[in-house]
Amino acid sequence: MKYSIFSLARAALSGHKTWQPTWRDAAPKDRYDVVIIGGGGHGLATAWFLASEFGIRNVAVVEKGWIGSGNAGRNTTIIRSNYGLPGNTGFYELSMKLWETMEHDLNYNAMVSQRGVLNLYHSDAQRDAFARRGNTMRINGIDAELLDQAALRKMLPFLNFDNARFPVQGGLLQRRGGTARHDAVVWGYAHAASALGVDIIQNCEVTGFTRDANGKVTGVETSRGRIGAGKVGMAVAGSSSRVAAMAGLRLPIESHVLQAFVSEAIKPLIPGVMTFGAGHFYVSQSDKGGLVFGGDIDGYNSYAQRGNLPVMEDVCEGGMALIPMIGRVRLLRQWGGIMDMSMDGSPIIDKSPVDGLYINAGWCYGGFKATPGSGFVFAHLIARDQSHKEAALFRLDRFQRGAMIDEKGQGAQPNLH
């Protein structure tokens, strides 16, 4: 049933008894043209693009738990394309454009809200770095504005301008940035992919790969049996190294915990997304009213999916330093997701050295905003066996060649990216 206010009204007459499942809960078939491992946003988007753009509909998405149970369901919902380096800039803008049409493409309201993303600066050096980045954006056709303190005082009078250890001096604003309802993105892709015939198989954990005599991947072993595949794509943030290891691969990736927090719901207080430039804190306010915020990763390898107290304190210190009016707002809930941190802070979308296995990994904490773009270019790679031009630099061998895409300039130290 097409979703609209009219279908809602019609369903209301019958007490909403007429709604069908948002997606079909499929059982595995013997074989698919493509099996995508990972029922998160990236995996489901990949399946949808394979079906809708590349005409490959005999596709399964296998998910070890419930769809969206990984980072798609535990992030801070920010979308933006304010990157500064070749490789990233074009890709994230491709993704941003797909966000802008997603809801109509999927017939699902993912609450894409372009309320702006503002990166604050507190020193001349930071301003210069933002100027460089903002100009890169503009040269790539992406909106960016450099605001000074006077403009910010008008726009966000509640920031700590005058009593701060590191006073806000200005910011880089991308008005088209914003937030989207993370779970709805997952459900929307599942809804639309399922409608095109994609099998979404939950509670189906991949335990190994089947390979032919030449070593080519021919399918996956799962907790629900063997599933044959022409090609296998993995989009398993938080488990990339573990799944790759099943194919004998070691990746330039470490897994780290990133925490996120939400406050109690309050009436509208903070207009868009903003990031503190002198500490680890970024924040937006959800439609429901909670302040959704986060900061730095916990800093050590972890698969524990829970955060530590010092980082929670660090984030709140940043919050109070920037926006001292949130002192009495209460932190309601804390959670942790596992970030697959790559060695240069940028993702890997490439064929793996194992024939038939395609890798989509290393998104660090930037995976959510990439969801539609990642799905599109990964589907392109799988369908055409060739990188999409906007993902051409996300190659696995770039570390061997010395062609890193290191926005932060931290080198092979993932916990610093």
Partner: protein, 91 residues
């Protein structure tokens, strides 16, 4: 998290800095580019017990080898890096 520094005793996480997997060894000068690439970039990224380098920079400044489970954060052993005890070599 709290780490029992072999010199200082049990201390709070905030006194330590993390580096990462302690297993990779810096290749010899003539090992070649592939060996160094492997050392610098590739990780086992273990889900389970892992040996790691931590620096007690907020304390005695010793580099430590910490054996820690990345699934539970349980720490089972902490020992000093080789050079910390160098003053006692032969002693």
């Amino acid at each position: 998290m709290r780490i029992i520094c072999p010199y200082c005793g049990e201390r709070e996480l905030g006194e330590f800095t993390y580096l990462g997997d302690a297993k990779p060894q810096r290749p010899a000068a003539d090992a070649g580019e592939d060996a160094v690439y492997d050392y610098v970039y590739l990780r086992d990224n273990i889900a389970g017990v892992m040996s790691e380098h931590w620096y007690h920079g907020g304390g005695c400044r010793a580099w430590l080898k910490v054996t820690r489970n990345t699934l539970t954060h349980e720490i089972s052993a902490v020992e000093p890096a080789a050079g910390v005890g160098a003053a006692k070599v032969g002693a």
